[in-house]
């Protein structure tokens, strides 16, 4: 093989909060190739490309660019060297035209800009003709469809003469037609000698457009394949991992009565589009009902609806009592406990002490008649939580920020369980946790299940689903593509469903 354009060796990234995002990752990109970066959410794809493009410093590891060791301290430096990244959220100035956006920051001559505008236009038009990326140059970009905005982003990078173009999930925002238009353009860029790193979790796209593919799982490279020599099935398996745990964790007792009953639930997402589009399911006492799926297919909105943070239509009942119109406080009082997917944003207040966090949402038992807080009792209660859930902390007065991720999560779980709930909604309960904390949380969920708690588990981690779930629903684009009992769990089939292959196949 020729000398690599980009060679990353042994990249490790540990975030300040202790989350290990990457462990000893290698990535090699040849000149003129489209290189796929495949992995589930949280596998480390974005972190890796952010490191390569200078947005994040690596904790360890080396990067060689055109054979020379480099260390970029900002995206600007990486861009100057010839590495350009197009993020999922574009960096465009809405009211500016396409041409202005492309020229912005690269125009050079300052006051002479009006004079050089024609020269810039000529070069951009040449680039458009050569690459096949057509976009209107004189319309404010905010008036353009997302797919066209994306082309302008790519043109912006080409205008800066990058040799390596990194596209972070470029198809996530595109319609199928726009995807069909994008792929030939990427191939053409490769023929012209540019290299492209293409990030996705969609298997078919890897096969459709890449030359080679690097598969990441849980922050490690699990395989590098030539695209021509692999299959969807192999990639699905690699992406979600080998079967490892014996499925001996099933409940021995039959599940009890229905605790949560959901009928035809519909929830609108952030952009006013339906995020959950009519799902129905039941969760029984003593069972773990899991929702699998790639993140962003409506799981978050489903959970937020059930805990009262998002309006919904349809029916939802807890032990026969309707949940319609209930506030988070009322739902909590009815017996719904919630482990949110983002504990920093929704579960804890990091500036608050351990004790203050221990009573977040359950302060009522610790008040005197005028609403004063009995901090002595709160502290004893918090101390008790620390012991019962083996939370390592300097003490109950220490700020929650000072705890490691795993201990924050244990504190949060402990608090939620201290409400003696009927239903526990656990959304990505072990994401970003170290091995020991993950083990602890999973064992706890299994024990609670055996004690008769109804648990709704949402996870993008198939290992977790396989280990814990009694029944599994796969969620794709706001609906369940199937609900499978544990005995029928089949890793490859779930992987394909998660990757949207089966659903797309059905549509075609």
């Amino acid at each position: 093989m020729a000398e690599a354009l980009l060679l990353a060796q042994g990249i490790t990234k540990v975030y300040p909060d202790g989350t290990v995002a990457l462990t000893g990752v290698d990535l090699e990109v040849q000149p003129g190739e489209v290189h796929g970066l495949l992995g589930e959410n949280g596998a480390g794809k974005s972190t890796l490309t952010k490191i390569i493009s200078g947005l994040l410093p690596p904790t360890a590891g080396r990067i060689f660019w055109k054979g020379k060791p480099v260390r970029f301290s900002s995206p600007r430096e990486a861009l100057r060297a010839g590495i350009g990244m197009v993020h999922q959220h574009f960096a465009l100035v809405g009211p500016f035209t396409g041409l202005e956006n492309i020229a912005l920051g690269a125009e050079g001559g300052g006051l002479l800009f009006p004079v050089r505008a024609e020269a810039i236009r000529r070069r951009v038009e040449e680039l458009m003709a050569a690459s096949g990326l057509q976009a209107p140059l004189d319309v404010p970009v905010e008036e353009l469809p997302v797919g066209v905005q994306q082309r302008i982003e790519i043109l912006k990078m080409l205008f800066r003469d990058v040799d390596l173009l990194i596209l972070d999930e470029p198809t996530a925002v595109l319609t199928p037609q726009e995807v069909d238009e994008l792929f030939p353009i990427l191939r053409r860029l490769a023929q012209q000698g540019k290299s492209v790193v293409f990030i996705t979790h969609k298997l078919r796209e890897i096969l459709a457009v890449t030359d080679r593919v690097t598969v990441l799982r849980r922050g490690r490279v699990v395989a590098v394949r030539k695209t021509a020599e692999t299959t969807v099935e192999e990639l699905a398996q690699l992406m979600v991992g080998e079967t490892m745990v014996a499925q001996a964790q099933r409940s021995r007792r039959p599940p009890g009565e229905v605790v949560l009953r959901v009928r035809d639930l519909r929830v609108l997402g952030a952009e006013g589009r339906p995020a959950v589009d009519g799902v129905s399911f039941e969760v029984r006492a003593g069972e773990i009902f899991a929702i699998a799926g790639v993140q962003g297919n409506g799981q978050s909105e489903l959970v937020e609806a059930l805990v009262g943070l998002r309006p919904w239509t349809g029916e939802a009942e807890l032990s026969g009592q309707s949940l319609r119109g209930k506030s988070p406080a009322q739902l909590s009082a009815l017996g719904v406990a919630h482990i949110p997917e983002d504990r920093h944003a929704l579960g804890l207040i990091l500036e608050f002490s351990v004790a203050e966090n221990a009573v977040l949402g359950r302060l009522a038992p610790f008040l005197n008649p005028v609403g004063g807080v009995r901090w002595g009792r709160v502290q004893r209660f918090a101390q008790d939580l620390l012991v019962r859930f083996s939370v390592q902390a300097r003490g109950v007065r220490a700020p929650a920020r000072s705890l490691s991720g795993g201990n924050q999560q244990k504190l949060l779980v402990g608090r939620e369980l201290s409400k003696s709930p009927k239903l526990l909604i656990a959304n990505q309960p072990t994401r970003g946790l170290d091995v020991a904390a993950t083990r602890y949380i999973r064992d706890l969920l299994l024990r609670l299940r055996d004690e008769g708690l109804a648990i709704l588990l949402v996870s993008a981690d198939l290992d977790e689903i396989f280990e814990l779930a009694d029944r599994v629903a796969v969620m794709y684009r706001g609906t369940f593509t199937g609900i499978l009992p544990a005995e029928e769990l089949d890793r490859e089939r779930i992987g394909l469903l998660m990757g949207g292959v089966a659903a797309e196949g059905a549509r075609e």
Partner: protein
């Protein structure tokens, strides 16, 4: 502990820069500082004056602080303070049984402050109007309204430069020199808010909503209610700053240029920042402000020009307020980043 050390360091830095300014223009900085010190704290009379000047600043500082604790940037103290002052003064026109005037004046001025905060809360919650914008606008409305009332309706028939004076029965009794019993209002409010924020459910909710509104909401806390509460409490506190300035300090009236109410509301922001938005810290921050204000007169006697005194004061205040201001800004920026997911 670290906060106190940080403040002392900032103070030292501010003092040094101020000294450099004075030295550069050929004045004797250490002599000037000595004058400032003795002028503010040198004897009982000076100390009483210093304390008296700091009392309203405690209250306007609390206004900003309780807002900041709820995640708000409430700069409405100025307008609420002005209205509080004019309403308290107007109570002198009421005929009430003896002994009731002071209490009624405080109650009505509190009501006025809260009422002036209400549109801020309503606009924020129903229309998403930033409290920064609405408070600035309401400050001006209050300013011109107060000026109109002071000049047109309440002015003294004999002495045109001020309003009528507060009847004796409505004044805070004198404690020592310039200092009156109005200190109970300021200290009482600071202690109350300290207790409220750290020892009461609603205060806990205010702090939770301010630090992480999404987590607070998920935990069943009404973020809207917390904000309304913080704005109303702030309104009451600021109005009382105006009230005690009129009822508890010479000239027991409002001058026709509003000069004796001055910038109490805006200075409160600096006081809150110096006091780290903590009610007890604000007691210290306001005292510090009082020292600078009282001591300045003595510096002037040593031949330091007024402009230079103001520069030195400004440098020291900025240095002291900077750490907390930077923290607030960082939090604000972090929150903006959250809105645009990366």
């Amino acid at each position: 502990m670290r906060a106190i050390l940080e403040s002392l360091l900032a103070l030292a830095l501010g003092v040094l820069v101020g000294a450099a300014v004075m030295a550069a223009w050929g004045r004797d900085p250490w002599g000037a500082y000595a004058a400032l010190f003795t002028g503010a704290l040198g004897n009982v009379r000076a100390l009483a004056s210093t304390l008296s000047r700091s009392l309203p600043l405690v209250l306007t500082g609390l206004t900003f602080a309780v807002g900041a604790r709820a995640g708000l940037f409430n700069i409405g103290a100025q307008g609420q303070m002005l209205l509080g002052a004019v309403v308290a003064l107007s109570c002198g026109l009421l005929s009430l049984p003896p002994g009731w005037h002071l209490l009624v004046a405080l109650a009505l001025s509190a009501l006025a402050g809260a009422l002036w905060a209400l549109p801020v809360a309503l606009l924020k919650l129903t229309r998403g109007v930033s409290e920064v914008i609405s408070t600035i606008m309401l400050n001006w409305v209050a300013h011109w309204l107060t000026l109109y009332l002071v000049v047109q309706k309440l002015s003294d028939r004999v002495v045109g430069q001020r309003t009528f004076t507060v009847p004796m029965g409505m004044r805070f009794p004198v404690l020592q020199g310039e200092l009156t019993w109005s200190w109970t209002v300021s200290v009482g409010m600071a202690l109350f808010l300290f207790w409220f924020l750290w020892y009461h459910r609603q205060g806990y909710e205010v702090r939770a909503a301010g630090l992480n509104p999404r987590a607070a909401r998920a935990a069943g806390i009404s973020v809207s209610r917390a904000m309304v509460l913080a704005l109303l409490l702030g309104g009451v506190s600021a109005a009382w700053a105006g009230a005690i300035q009129v009822l508890g300090r010479f000239p027991y009236a409002i001058t026709s240029d509003l000069a004796n109410l001055g910038n109490l509301g805006f200075d409160g922001i600096a006081v809150a920042l110096i006091g780290r938005n903590h009610p007890l810290g604000i007691l210290g921050g306001a005292f510090f402000f009082g020292v600078l204000a009282t001591g300045a007169a003595r510096m002037g006697l040593r031949g330091i020009p007024l402009e230079m005194i103001q520069i030195v004061q400004g440098v020291i205040v900025v240095a002291m307020a900077a750490p907390e201001a930077l923290r607030l800004l960082r939090r604000l920026r972090a929150r903006q980043r959250e809105v645009v997911p990366a």
